[in-house]
């Protein structure tokens, strides 16, 4: 299924546009030229890749910490029988930027891991309290103490 979703041009596009995108009057034309395709083709490919969810986003990626805000990793131990309801509750919060189901190799009970993104540092504590109330479960937070390395770029392997 995955193979059918993207062709060689899409792969080149995804790899190249993880590095950056021009700021100029016709940025798609400039990026398309570098890929050897037309501006219309690039726009059509981006629309399609976003629609089929090969891409989850296209645009500026903001560093909220540089704007006085916070990103914080948090976890919940959700009972299996209540899973779907709790997913809907947690995802309904706009402060939840990402949410993943994770399974431990060693029986750790934390199975839902999400990232809170808020415009102010105080917004995190408020979001945590509201999520705890809505879910009826304790939220465990893992704010970063130090960042050693971050590079979200991954080259296409399909």
């Amino acid at each position: 299924m995955r193979e059918a979703l993207i062709d060689a041009t899409d792969r080149a596009l995804i790899d190249r546009l993880q590095d950056g995108f021009p700021i100029c009057e016709r940025p798609y034309a400039a990026a398309a030229h570098a890929l050897g395709i037309s501006e219309d083709d690039l726009l059509a490919r981006l629309r399609r890749l976003l629609e089929v969810r090969v891409l989850t986003r296209f645009g500026p990626l903001f560093q909220i910490e540089r704007m006085g805000g916070s990103f914080v990793l948090a976890a919940l131990a959700v009972p299996e029988c209540d899973w779907q309801r709790q997913v809907e509750i947690v995802n309904s919060f706009p402060e939840v930027a990402h949410n993943y189901r994770r399974q431990s190799e060693r029986d750790c009970p934390f199975n839902m891991w999400f990232v809170l993104a808020t415009e102010t540092t105080a917004g995190i504590a408020s979001a945590v309290r509201r999520i705890e109330t809505a879910c009826g479960l304790p939220v465990f937070v893992f704010p970063k103490i130090r960042e050693y390395f971050v590079d979200m770029k991954l080259s296409v392997r399909t």
């Binding site: 993207i6 726009l43 947690v90």
Partner: protein, 161 residues
């Protein structure tokens, strides 16, 4: 560096956090929406990139869709006195995409070093995690790997308009 946004920066964040317009002149379209000139939109975005408010402008792929079907969050309990040196070395491994020192949460969570490892298969990730274990050696007192089994949400930042 933690400069609060001015009102126009904030409106620019709100207008673009869902994505850049998919039209030939996206910065001109934003300018029309915000009631400012396209030059102002472009110079503000360029400045935000320069000072790190914007990490980059570009695509965010779904890891699964581009071949990284195994995504493991490896977590390690190492002595606090050694963590910075070890964290730098683990973060420097070419297959680690994020590496952080985070607090323990005892008794449920003894781990203080987090390293994300992505691969095309579970065994590939396990092999990479074994390389981290070898690097840490006896400094590692316990570890776990939490593989992601579903993306439940991935919208990114959303601040109020």
């Amino acid at each position: 560096m933690n400069a609060p946004l001015d009102d126009l920066d904030r409106r620019l964040v709100v207008a673009t956090q869902g994505g850049l317009p998919l039209v030939a002149r996206p910065y001109h379209e934003l300018a029309t929406t915000l009631g400012i000139s396209a030059d102002e939109v472009m110079s503000r975005l360029a400045r935000m990139l320069e000072c790190g408010l914007v990490r980059r402008i570009g695509v965010v792929p779904n890891h699964y869709a581009i071949g990284y079907t195994a995504n493991g969050m490896s977590v390690w309990d190492v002595p606090d006195a050694l963590i910075d040196g070890l964290g730098e070395r683990v973060g420097a491994l070419d297959f680690v995409t994020h590496c952080y020192h985070r607090p323990r949460c005892l008794p449920q969570w003894p781990y203080n070093l987090f390293a994300m490892v992505h691969g095309g298969s579970r065994s590939e990730v396990l092999g990479k995690v074994a390389q981290i274990a070898a690097l840490l050696g006896p400094a590692c007192r316990a570890h776990d790997i939490l593989f992601s089994t579903a993306i439940l949400k991935k919208t990114g930042l959303r601040i109020g308009g």
